[in-house]
């Protein structure tokens, strides 16, 4: 589907925000992703949706390779080919009244749309973000604009609690958890909080819509495709 690039600006030295205009009807849940076709690259790039409205969506991406590097060169006005509404996303109804949304680094963006959806559903989410250092922090305003508490943990202690997100979880009051970030962080959160949980996983994908079996993972209920049956897995499914 064709989208028009509206904005593409850096939030930090390595993280950029891209706004795209187009038909977002395909997006049904927070935590879903899009597959972006980049000129000069064969495979599409899967990017989780940070937030969206009726006719635009926001992607917040980190420059990690040649593809994301090329994304920073895209200019407003250019049209991009996207597949939208991919993946299962987070189930807002499966969250409790006081869900804790844990985002590690570029795992944070999907928590914005999730936080908004939860607030709109009358729930009281808290967002816990983990970074290496204060200079890497982004999207704090976005969370606070939603009226949700933003709790910060940095490895070097330059902002918020010093340490891992799990070092900041002890003092927080929550009845469920949604997490997205590096697998070690997901594991730590999984073990630190024995409450209903949804965990968003990453895997190198081929198609992004379930056809190629490139991103399969084993769960307690058999093999699942991260791109189609995931990226969000429920606590009960995960083999850890």
């Amino acid at each position: 589907m064709e989208f028009r690039l509206l904005e593409n600006t850096p939030l930090t030295s390595a993280v950029w925000r891209m706004r795209l205009g187009g038909d977002t009807a395909g997006i049904t849940r927070p935590g879903q992703f899009v597959q972006l076709k980049l000129p000069g690259f064969y495979l599409r790039r899967p990017i989780s949706v940070c937030d969206w409205d009726g006719d635009s969506l926001t992607l917040v991406y980190k420059v990690v390779g040649q593809g994301t590097e090329a994304m920073t060169g895209l200019r407003p006005g250019e049209t991009l080919d996207l597949l939208t509404g991919l993946g299962n996303g987070f189930d807002v109804n499966a969250c409790g009244q006081r869900p804790l949304l844990v985002g590690g680094g570029v795992g944070l963006p999907p928590m914005i749309g999730l936080c908004r959806s939860l607030v709109e559903n009358g729930k009281k989410p808290t967002v816990l973000a983990g970074f290496n250092t204060a200079a890497e922090v982004f999207l704090r305003d976005a969370v606070e604009q939603l009226g949700a508490p933003f709790v910060l943990a940095t490895m070097d202690g330059s902002a918020g609690v010093k340490g891992l997100v799990t070092d900041a979880m002890g003092d927080l009051d929550f009845d469920s958890v949604c997490a997205c970030g590096p697998e070690p962080m997901l594991r730590a959160v999984y073990h630190a909080a024995e409450v209903p949980g949804q965990f968003s996983f990453e895997e190198r994908m081929g198609c992004g819509f379930g056809a190629c079996m490139g991103c399969s993972c084993k769960t307690k209920y058999g093999s699942k495709r991260i791109c189609k049956d995931g990226p969000v897995l429920a606590r009960e499914e995960i083999i850890w």
């Binding site: 064969y42 495979l43 190198r204 198609c207 056809a211």
Partner: protein, 302 residues
């Protein structure tokens, strides 16, 4: 004038020669949101083995400049599950001939799968994959040796009640000798090429991108090799060949048919654009018009 896209494979009529390649199209369900898959000539479903297989560890996908590598490793739910669940579900949404893609690790396993799948009414062609580059033992090993390829062909033919197409590996010195061995052993047709064995390295992590180190290279980058092999094989055998390898446009389809293919399969293109087959089928009449072709079945090997 109205163009005739229909072709015939071993007596099986296809509305058009465009067939999604096994492993890039699952059992069709994932493409329903994008278009009515009944526009397809046929569909070669995900390679099936006797037992369920999870496949290889991830990462299983690597990008190339003009294609991709995969090392999925024949992940599939096993032939019983395919027959009990996948085919009935597919039958509900797809009413064209189906090509059953079958893999195995022993002659016995191939035979067992064929015995079961040949009974399925909608299955009209059995495509025997002796060229999977992503599994140790079996897979490609059968497809790189004329005797082994002939043995499987003979064994499968004894139990098959539908046309048997052997799917060949391009990772060989002389694909013609393998093709001839299959023909002599009774194969009704051939499918080629499977993926080229390739590799990519992650420069930052300093290790192979694929957990399985090497994988099957597909996409436009392999088209010239596929075209050459189809041309060589169709010049040497008298059974129909389904041509595949990097086909991404209606022009590619026609070029492959001019190399001698009677039909084509579209693989990697489905993964980067779920509407690839639809677009190709829709482009065909105009390209035929540009080239003065009224019936695709009239195309002669150059």
């Amino acid at each position: 004038m109205v163009k005739d896209l229909s072709v015939t494979l071993s007596g099986v009529h296809l509305d058009n020669p465009v067939i999604p390649a096994s492993g890039t199209y699952g059992f069709g369900q994932e493409f329903l949101p994008y278009y009515d898959i009944n526009i397809l000539g046929s569909l070669s479903f995900k390679g099936t083995t006797a037992e369920a297989r999870f496949g290889n560890p991830t990462p299983r996908i690597a990008e190339c400049h003009d294609g991709m590598l995969n090392s999925v490793g024949l992940q599939n739910p096993g032939v019983e599950h395919v027959i009990a669940e996948e085919l009935p579900a597919l039958r509900k949404v797809f009413h064209k001939p189906i090509i059953a893609n079958i893999s195995g690790f022993s002659v016995e396993e191939y035979v067992r799968c064929v015995e079961l799948l040949t009974r399925e009414e909608q299955v009209e062609i059995l495509e025997i994959n002796i060229s999977c580059p992503n599994v140790r033992h079996g897979g490609m090993a059968f497809g790189t040796n004329p005797e082994a390829a002939a043995d499987i062909t003979r064994a499968v033919k004894q139990v098959a009640t539908k046309p048997v197409y052997m799917k060949l590996s391009p990772n060989v010195t002389d694909i013609v000798s393998i093709a001839r061995a299959c023909e002599d052993a009774g194969a009704d047709g051939l499918s080629l090429i499977n993926t080229l064995l390739g590799m990519r390295i992650d420069l930052r992590r300093r290790r192979p991108v694929l957990a399985n180190v090497m994988g099957g290279y597909s996409g436009p980058g392999i088209f010239p090799v596929a075209l050459r092999m189809v041309y060589q094989v169709t010049g040497a055998v008298n059974i129909p060949v389904i041509g595949m390898g990097g086909i991404s446009s209606a022009r590619d389809v026609i070029e492959m048919m001019m190399a001698g293919a009677k039909a084509v399969q579209v693989g990697a293109a489905n993964l980067v654009d779920p509407c690839a087959c639809k677009k190709i089928i829709e482009e065909l009449p105009q390209e035929m018009e540009n080239l003065g072709i009224d019936r695709l079945s009239d195309i002669q090997r150059v």
